[in-house]
């Protein structure tokens, strides 16, 4: 008896669930208000704060368009775009030629904002801002410079009493655009780095400890006497981390801030190719901070759904005009003017 009744209740439960599913499937068509146009995007985590602000704000202005962005990482964004499971992607580093070939339709790159990476450190008894040259940074991360009072470091930091302590290198353990920008810069300033290590979202680090995320790196640096690591500028600013100036290609030591990052992009703007796929580390300008990069939206050049195509085009237009004003409030450097005007023209390539 007991078994029979429990069987009956299972059957009843199954019927209820089935009914529920049918009701769920039915409900959208029965809804009186037309559902907003849903656009799916996925990719980089670094620009997520501003993207999420943009997409929310855009939805408020245009309630009929809802952009759903998942910050699953640049690698995931590129793969989902190639597979066609999202309407557009986002990445910190431009797609490689090989990746572009694997995409079903040609992909256009639209720079959105700029980010920078800064060296942060923890040296007992040193409160001054340190000056780093690219070569010194590369040698530290290669494990060639192992003491804080090394002559190469001392020569660009006159008047700072650098101690005779070991340098502990801290890098990101998770794959990230931050690591890409950092290793891309080191590859440009040091032949040794380029041949031994190279540039990527993760590399085979010659020395050091790995911390997960900006918070992991800065946590290790804060805790470990003599440590040096690299974090995103935004993260360093928001958490009041000490960070050093880096010598740019004109020989000036520049502190990273929103102006010096935008200046780097502006000074390179003539060299930016038509598809915007460019590395702007080690930029030529006098005021340019050398370790920075664009972050991109990756838009398919052919979008079949006419409504979606128009919505994405309109959003890009808004992002390049009104949207840019949101950038600095969230500590992202905005695009230089001529990059904006070139991107405006590029919107026309979306069919």
């Amino acid at each position: 008896m007991k078994l029979k009744s429990s069987f009956a209740s299972i059957a009843l439960g199954a019927a209820l669930i089935a009914g529920g599913v049918i009701a769920l499937v039915d409900s959208p068509s029965a809804a009186p208000v037309p559902a907003p146009l849903l656009i799916n995007a996925a990719g980089a985590t670094f620009p997520y704060p501003i993207y999420s602000k943009w997409f929310t704000e855009y939805n408020r202005i245009h309630p009929d368009i809802q952009i759903n962005y998942q910050s699953i990482g640049s690698g995931g964004g590129i793969r989902q775009l190639q597979a066609g499971t999202v309407d557009f992607g986002a990445s910190d580093a431009p797609m490689t030629d090989e990746q572009l070939q694997q995409a079903k339709v040609p992909v256009l790159h639209f720079p959105t904002v700029l980010g920078a990476v800064v060296p942060t450190y923890n040296i007992e008894g040193v409160s001054q801002e340190l000056n780093f040259t690219g070569e010194v940074l590369a040698d530290i991360f290669l494990g060639k410079i192992t003491k804080w009072n090394d002559a190469a470091l001392a020569s660009s930091n006159h008047g700072v009493n650098l101690p005779n302590t070991d340098i502990v290198v801290v890098h990101r353990s998770d794959g990230s655009g931050t690591s890409y920008v950092w290793t891309d810069y080191l590859s440009k300033v040091s032949k040794d780095w380029e041949t031994k290590v190279g540039r990527n979202t993760s590399v085979n680090w010659p020395v050091g400890l790995g911390g997960k995320g900006n918070e992991g790196v800065s946590g290790l640096v804060k805790q470990t006497p003599g440590a040096i690591g690299y974090v995103e500028l935004i993260y360093a600013v928001q958490n009041n981390l000490p960070y050093g100036q880096v010598k740019n290609s004109t020989g000036a030591f520049v502190k990273a801030d929103l102006a010096s990052v935008t200046a780097a992009a502006a000074s390179e703007s003539k060299k930016i190719p038509a598809d915007f796929r460019v590395s702007i580390t080690n930029a030529q300008g006098k005021a340019a901070y050398p370790v920075c990069s664009f972050t991109y939206l990756l838009i398919p050049s052919k979008i079949d759904d006419a409504a979606k195509k128009q919505a994405i085009k309109d959003f890009l237009h808004w992002m390049l005009t009104t949207g840019q004003n949101d950038a600095e409030g969230l500590s992202y450097a905005k695009l230089p003017k001529d990059v904006v005007s070139r991107e405006m023209k590029a919107i026309g390539q979306i069919n």
């Binding site: 078994l3 069987f7 699953i72 793969r79 070991d166 998770d174 794959g175 979202t201 790995g210």
Partner: protein, 327 residues
């Protein structure tokens, strides 16, 4: 249930269909089917998991073959992938965790089941079960903010000064290290060992204890020579459950182990584990070979778990037979 189908059939023999419907009405067959489906789904999920891991790691399997297991370099830039440092880090950190957690966990379980007053035992057990439910990121944070600084400032310098002649306690002291990873894992798995071992010890029949005491054994002799051997298989099971958790733990380990893929004898040196590198690098892995190498690492972790579980079965079989022979 009361009217067993067999007796009904004997009384009134009919065709096969009728027999089946009869059994169906009894509910036996339905229950059989439902539980069978439940059991089969586990097998299906496991097979599908391994199949997917296998299929999606074709590139590195063909490129590196068996040398994947022995390669020491993990270089996403040049596309050279070897799993040895990760296998090493996973096994050593888990072994270290067991080394610390087993005496602690079994000791605590013995106290709670045999010696502690019931009220203290119940309260403590409640707290331990709470500990087992704490998310691993919390253990990681405790590791980062408390364990690692204590290790760096107190424990490691002490070990270096006293046992520094051993290769395990040499080299620069960073705090984050294989040792820190193993200790965090130990803290995480102790609740499992205590909780399960205590249940098993409590399940030992009272007669066993009374018989031992009746023969003139002391309380400790009865516990150590009668109760614990009786519960040995269950205690082993708790240890292997804990080991399985340690092998697959990701978050807490990656926060304190230093994430450096190198094989190093010193426990002071940073290391890396399989689960940690997959979680760290998967999202930004660009390029097929890189991604598939990470998937192959998943396969390796799976194989490692199967291997260790197999060994565990062997150990249990061997010790039970030994126990039977003694008895």
């Amino acid at each position: 249930m009361a009217s067993a189908p067999t007796t009904v059939d004997q009384v009134r023999p009919r065709g096969r269909t009728w027999k089946f419907i009869k059994r169906l009405r009894g509910g036996d067959e339905v229950a059989h089917l439902i539980t069978l489906l439940a059991a089969a789904s586990i097998i299906v999920v496991t097979v599908m998991l391994v199949y997917q891991l296998y299929v999606n790691s074709a590139l590195p399997r063909h490129k590196f073959g068996l040398s994947f297991f022995l390669g020491k370099t993990w270089d996403p830039v040049s596309g050279e992938f070897g799993a040895l440092p990760f296998i090493f880090g996973t096994i050593v950190s888990s072994a270290l965790a067991l080394l610390v957690a087993v005496p602690l966990g079994v000791g605590a379980a013995i106290f709670l089941s045999e010696l502690a007053p019931p009220r203290i035992s119940n309260v403590t057990t409640f707290v331990i079960e709470l500990l087992a439910a704490v998310p691993s990121v919390i253990y990681g944070l405790l590791g980062v903010f408390i364990l690692v600084p204590v290790l760096r400032i107190v424990v490691m310098p002490f070990l270096k000064a006293t046992l520094g002649f051993l290769p395990f306690f040499q080299g620069p002291i960073y705090g984050v290290s294989m040792l820190a990873g193993g200790l965090v894992l130990a803290i995480m798995i102790v609740p499992f060992i205590i909780s399960v071992s205590r249940e098993v010890l409590m399940a030992v029949p009272v007669e066993q204890r009374e018989a031992a005491l009746g023969l003139g054994a002391t309380k400790w002799e009865s516990t150590w020579q009668v109760v614990v051997p009786f519960a040995r298989v269950g205690i082993m099971a708790s240890i292997f459950l804990a080991l399985a958790r340690a092998l697959g733990e990701t978050m807490a380990v990656t926060m304190v182990i230093g994430n450096d893929p190198r094989v190093n004898a010193s426990l002071f040196a940073p290391a890396y584990s399989i689960a940690a590198v997959i979680a760290n690098e998967f999202t930004e892995a660009t390029g097929d070979l890189y991604l598939e190498a990470l998937i192959e690492l998943g396969l390796v972790l799976f194989l490692l778990t199967i291997l260790i579980n197999g060994l565990a079965r062997l150990v249990i079989i061997a010790t039970t037979q030994k126990g039977a022979a003694q008895g």
